[in-house]
């Protein structure tokens, strides 16, 4: 009896310690800000640099001016309209988000992708769709240079693509 109580207690304490370890690591998962993108030399261009340090990268909306595109959003829309080739026969549906950093010179880097179906469940789109969108996004040479108190800043920007039956139907924001 004593032995079994001991075993149960031991098992319980192991479980508890595992749980607290999970909780601790969950707490540690946060970087400075939600969604921060750290440089990964294996996938990111090493030539891309942020100007003011990673701890000073803002979000595109932090300056209160809404999403701003160099040459306005219509230019981005036209770029994708002319370059994106729908994949015939692929009935792919959902959302693809490409998020990246725009530095003080209006250059973009550290691209990251999130994909889901229209019920927001994570999924993987056909690689031909994702790589096209990624390459077109990477091919945009100039993004708007945002300034705070006349000083150009680094900021996070993203594009969300709505894909219906393999066709690009909307680009946000």
């Amino acid at each position: 009896m004593k032995k079994s109580i001991l075993k149960v207690t031991l098992l319980f304490s192991i479980l508890c310690s595992c749980q607290s370890e999970i909780k601790t690591s969950e707490k540690e998962k946060y970087l400075r800000w939600v969604g921060d993108i750290e440089q990964n030399d294996q996938i990111d261009e090493t030539a891309f640099k942020v100007c003011n340090g990673d701890d000073k990268i803002l979000q595109y909306f932090n300056l209160g001016n809404g999403p701003i595109y160099a040459g306005e959003k219509s230019k981005v829309l036209n770029t994708f309209k002319s370059k994106y080739k729908p994949i015939s026969g692929k009935k792919e549906n959902g959302l693809i988000r490409i998020r990246f950093i725009v530095n003080c010179e209006g250059k973009a880097g550290r691209f990251r992708v999130v994909q889901s179906d229209y019920d927001y469940q994570e999924k993987e789109f056909d690689d031909e769709i994702v790589s096209q969108l990624l390459n077109i996004t990477k091919g945009i040479e100039n993004w708007e240079v945002l300034k705070q108190n006349e000083v150009p800043i680094d900021y996070y920007m993203y594009l969300i693509f709505k894909i219906t039956d393999g066709q690009l139907t909307e680009i946000l924001p």
């Binding site: 707490k27 939600v34 924001p173």
Partner: protein
């Protein structure tokens, strides 16, 4: 209008409207939720995206995993960074725990950030079926949620239904003297798209009186163009350009509103007017 603009600004940068009253939980004897609430209130002064803000809310959830506010507050940074997968998991939890409090918000975010028209309609209609009161305004204060619902119906091709919904809500808004910044414009564009140009012009004129915008003059020009009123067509386009350059245009802090036009659209239309000898 000035009052409305002030409200919009206030809505845009504040969470104050959704703050829970912790003392109420204590009063009703729910000490666990009271503790979770007190913990969650420690986020005050911390940025929604920050490690500290998120960690405090995790601790609040640890105290009481049924405290809806903490999930809602956590979800905001994921929403604003475009991480729809993480956002949806968190906001769904808040909706599951307190549907009446969060359905309208979730529906609005589906529309504003992800143009998830069908999902937004579902949320707005579900909320409507659950409550006996007005379903309220969008989080940023720009629209009554019924106007947003109408825009969603328009986007999925149900334009007649959209007109009915928006028209009905505008009448109610007029009674309250609380017209949304773009209400008349959206309804005017709907009529324009349906080919009722006189009605569209009537609405654009109302929009001009309430809140003049480059978009309004642009669509007004298109209505005149369809009626072959060349002088008005041209002068409205010129006014649209002037307003656009003067920053009197549709705006949202996070996205681009429906029916927004860009300088390129206006200039292309001006070129069309030139080429067709309208000048």
């Amino acid at each position: 209008m000035k009052y409305l603009n002030f409200l919009i600004l206030l809505f845009a940068f504040s969470n104050v409207f959704a703050q829970p009253n912790c003392e109420a939980y204590k009063y009703y004897g729910d000490t666990l939720k009271y503790e979770a609430c007190k913990k969650a209130m420690e986020i005050s002064g911390h940025y929604q995206f920050s490690k500290k803000y998120q960690t405090i809310l995790d601790e609040s959830i640890e105290i009481d995993p049924t405290f809806d506010y903490a999930y809602w507050a956590k979800s905001i940074a994921y929403l604003k960074s475009g991480d729809f997968v993480s956002w949806k998991k968190l906001i769904d939890k808040a909706v599951e725990l307190k549907p009446k409090n969060h359905l309208g918000y979730r529906g609005w975010c589906r529309y504003q950030f992800f143009r998830d028209y069908k999902g937004a309609i579902k949320d707005f209609e579900k909320l409507d079926s659950l409550v006996g009161y007005d379903i309220g305004q969008s989080q940023n204060g720009t629209y009554h949620l019924n106007i947003a619902k109408g825009l969603c119906y328009k986007a999925i091709g149900e334009k007649e239904k959209a007109v009915q919904i928006i028209e009905k809500q505008i009448k109610l808004n007029e009674k309250e003297n609380f017209i949304g910044s773009y209400d008349y414009l959206h309804l005017g564009v709907l009529y324009l798209e349906l080919g009722n140009f006189e009605k569209a012009i009537e609405l654009f004129k109302k929009q001009s009186k309430d809140n003049e915008l480059a978009e309004n003059q642009y669509y007004l020009a298109l209505a005149y163009k369809n009626l072959n009123k060349k002088t008005e067509y041209k002068s409205c386009l010129e006014k649209a350009k002037e307003l656009y350059i003067g920053q009197s245009r549709m705006f949202d802090f996070y996205s681009n509103p429906m029916d927004k036009v860009y300088l390129e659209n206006i200039e292309n239309e001006i070129k069309t007017a030139y080429n067709n000898g309208h000048r």
